[in-house]
């Protein structure tokens, strides 16, 4: 019994805009996943690669002033992939070492791309695989969708709200660390005009994040909406990435063997469309301006468009279909 029982009282007040109600779904979803202590700890761990990238930013900027730092840069670009990427982008490694400020745009782009391509992509697969399967499947199991959709909310807005939960996580994993590194790079640089030569990098980071977020969210939501058991959705998610990568490696290797023409490190075969990981990597490389323009550029873009449309359509269709009596 409440201390002050006021009974039922009518409510009058200004309501929020009907077109913004999906934000409630998103904010509640984010609040809910953020309660997990393990997720917070995992996110902190996942920031370590960003700290390493930040270290290299600092070293690179210092190398412009102090040649002793250039040995570290040399060790970074001693890797096969870095050499291959530099070659495709038409940058000479020796030039980087001799005159770092002239190659700043390439080096910053490469470091951020590397961050996206490897640590953050793996982090994304892990975190989304642990979080996303629950987003819709739990609502299907507990019939929570009825509560959502009996309010002024359409199935499309519901899916959008759920997608925003994943967008938030991906932004925290990919875009936010990359942008912070970029800002830190600006401050670490001895040259105050560095902003004018690198102004496009934040935009590239945002586009690369979108490329990562839109199709992967579509896939994750589609899996989540196809089952009431989140573990099945999680299994399907991880299987997709593993099987896709293994298939790509097998086909690409077989292709090379048949052509007797080895695929150089960092290059992509046309079999990459079998692997979401390779396709996203290729597109991000293109966004960061590190890809040599050779054929089939439209295919990966069509791939993410198709995957996104199919993924969101499945999620929408499943939610709308559940309303049948």
């Amino acid at each position: 019994m409440p201390l002050l029982d006021v009974g039922y009282r009518t409510w009058t007040g200004e309501r929020t805009y009907a077109s913004t109600r999906w934000l409630v779904v998103a904010s509640t979803g984010i609040r809910l996943i953020w309660r997990g202590t393990w997720l917070k700890r995992l996110m902190v761990v996942l920031l370590i690669p960003s700290a390493v990238a930040l270290f290299f930013f600092g070293v690179f900027e210092q190398s412009a002033e102090d040649p002793n730092y250039r040995n570290i840069i040399r060790s970074v670009f001693a890797a096969r992939e870095a050499r291959a990427t530099a070659a495709r982008a038409g940058v000479n490694i020796n030039e980087i070492l001799l005159n770092p400020t002239e190659s700043r745009h390439f080096v910053w782009s490469y470091l951020l791309f590397f961050l996206f391509r490897y640590p953050q992509a793996f982090s994304m697969i892990l975190v989304i695989g642990l979080i996303a399967p629950r987003l819709i499947s739990f609502d299907l199991r507990s019939r929570g969708y009825l509560l959502y959709l009996s309010r002024p909310l359409t199935p499309a807005e519901y899916v959008l709200g759920k997608a925003c939960v994943i967008f938030f996580l991906l932004a925290m994993i990919a875009a936010v660390p990359a942008l912070l590194i970029y800002i830190a790079g600006l401050f670490l640089s001895p040259n105050p005009w560095v902003l004018f030569s690198t102004w496009d990098i934040p935009l590239r980071v945002l586009i690369a994040t979108c490329i990562l977020a839109i199709p992967t969210t579509a896939i994750a939501l589609a899996f989540s909406s196809l089952t009431q058991e989140s573990r099945y959705a999680g299994f399907a998610w991880f299987t997709l990435w593993v099987v896709g990568s293994v298939t790509y490696q097998a086909l690409a290797t077989a292709d090379q063997l048949s052509r007797r023409e080895p695929l150089r490190w960092g290059e992509y075969s046309h079999w990459m469309l079998f692997s979401p990981y390779e396709t996203l990597g290729y597109l991000q490389q293109e966004v960061f301006g590190l890809t040599a323009k050779v054929g089939m550029q439209w295919a990966p873009w069509c791939w993410i468009l198709l995957v996104s449309v199919i993924g969101y359509s499945i999620a929408y269709w499943r939610v709308a279909r559940m309303l049948r009596v």
């Binding site: 006021v6 409510w11 409630v24 507990s142 019939r143 929570g144 509560l147 002024p152 049948r324």
Partner: protein
């Protein structure tokens, strides 16, 4: 003058206006929630409120002290649909159904598969109908379903909850989805949780709730945005007898004191009898009967219904000797035909003579169960 700047007849049927005397101190207008007062005069209200501070947009009983221009007629249906057809494949679930639901509490009855849930979900716009049109709370239906959902509270039949949220959070979230600002939603959630008798359990995760608690929670979620029309699908399922009575009291209170309109879809006829003003019986996707409960229960021949404590046979013999016609209803209940003052006197005399104390005496009514069964069979 208050509404001189707008032509009322553009918005309202003149028959729905009840003129009331103008007061020299100012003008007020009022209307029961959900019949469109806010929608029609929405942009005028704030200025009028500032000028006169006398606007009342609330429960019907407040109209007794209104001193203004007019009120909206209470008899306008809150929900009116025509020729509704809903098909699943080749099967017609709703077959050209037409229905008008007046304000108050309406019981929606029907056997399983009669289309009750389909009708409710169609009204909410959760299901797309094949054809049909109508008006719900002054909004066009089905074209304005999203706006309609903003003003309807819905308690689903299904056991549904939002996984991972505390009770109070899930009420707050429903409030926010209906447009209440965050802080106001939390305040309102606590208020409604109190009203629905959800005590400290409100801080527990909803997946740990019992069926009865979930039912209360769904009721709170349906009420949190203060909707003028509340649709309750099997609301008393899983409640123990005392909680069920309290629940029904709340439903009745909302209708009588707060002017809410409620549609109660249930199989429990006792609940309908207890709280409803009107009854709609659906059979096979068609409206078989729609009538006020009072009129439905009126017997063709007036009579009295009584229950004696003991010795019913002696009581019956005594009535026969007095020439009073009656029918036995159970081992302690009788229906006496006729309601004259003489007959009532004779009943008390017969009771005294046969030592059969009368426990209960009131006007005889048709049983809702019989009405329901007859409607289905016909």
């Amino acid at each position: 003058m208050l509404l001189a700047c707008c032509d009322i007849r553009r918005f309202l049927d003149p028959e729905n206006l009840i003129p009331i005397p103008r007061h020299p101190l100012g003008t007020s207008l009022g209307g029961r929630d959900g019949i469109g007062t806010k929608k029609f005069f929405g942009d005028k209200i704030s200025s009028v409120h500032a000028k006169y501070n006398r606007i009342v947009l609330g429960a019907p009983q407040t109209h007794t002290f209104l001193t203004g221009l007019f009120i909206l007629n209470r008899s306008e249906p809150v929900l009116e649909v025509h020729d509704v057809v809903k098909r699943y494949g080749n099967r017609d679930v709703l077959k050209g159904l037409s229905l008008a639901i007046p304000p108050g509490v309406t019981g929606l009855l029907g056997p399983n598969g009669s289309g009750k849930s389909t009708l409710i979900k169609s009204i909410l716009g959760l299901l797309r109908i094949n054809s049909g049109h109508g008006r719900v709370l002054s909004y066009n239906w089905p074209s304005e379903c999203k706006a309609i959902r903003e003003h309807i509270g819905y308690l689903p039949e299904d056991d549904c909850y939002l996984h991972g949220l505390q009770g109070i959070e899930s009420i707050q979230m429903m409030a926010r989805l209906s447009g209440l600002p965050r802080t106001e939603a939390l305040r309102r959630a606590h208020e409604v949780a109190d009203f629905c008798d959800i005590d400290q359990e409100r801080y527990r995760n909803v997946e740990t709730y019992s069926t009865g608690m979930r039912q209360k929670l769904k009721f709170a979620q349906a009420l949190v945005h203060d909707p003028p029309l509340i649709i309750l699908d099997e609301p008393t399922t899983g409640l123990d007898p005392s909680q069920r009575e309290s629940f029904l009291d709340r439903i009745r209170m909302l209708a009588v004191e707060k002017g809410k309109s409620l549609i109660v879809s249930t199989h429990i006829l006792h609940d309908v009898q207890r709280v409803c003003d009107h009854v709609v019986i659906l059979v096979g996707g068609e409206v078989r009967m729609t009538e006020s409960l009072e009129r439905l229960q009126q017997p063709i021949e007036p009579g009295l219904h009584l229950r004696v404590e003991e010795n019913l046979e002696g009581f019956e013999n005594s009535l026969r000797r007095r020439g009073i016609a009656f029918e036995r209803e159970s081992d302690r209940e009788l229906r006496v035909l006729g309601v004259g003052a003489d007959q009532v006197r004779c009943l008390w005399q017969a009771s005294e003579e046969s030592a059969a104390p009368i426990q209960h005496l009131d006007a005889a009514r048709n049983s809702l169960e019989d009405i329901f069964l007859n409607a289905i069979r016909s």
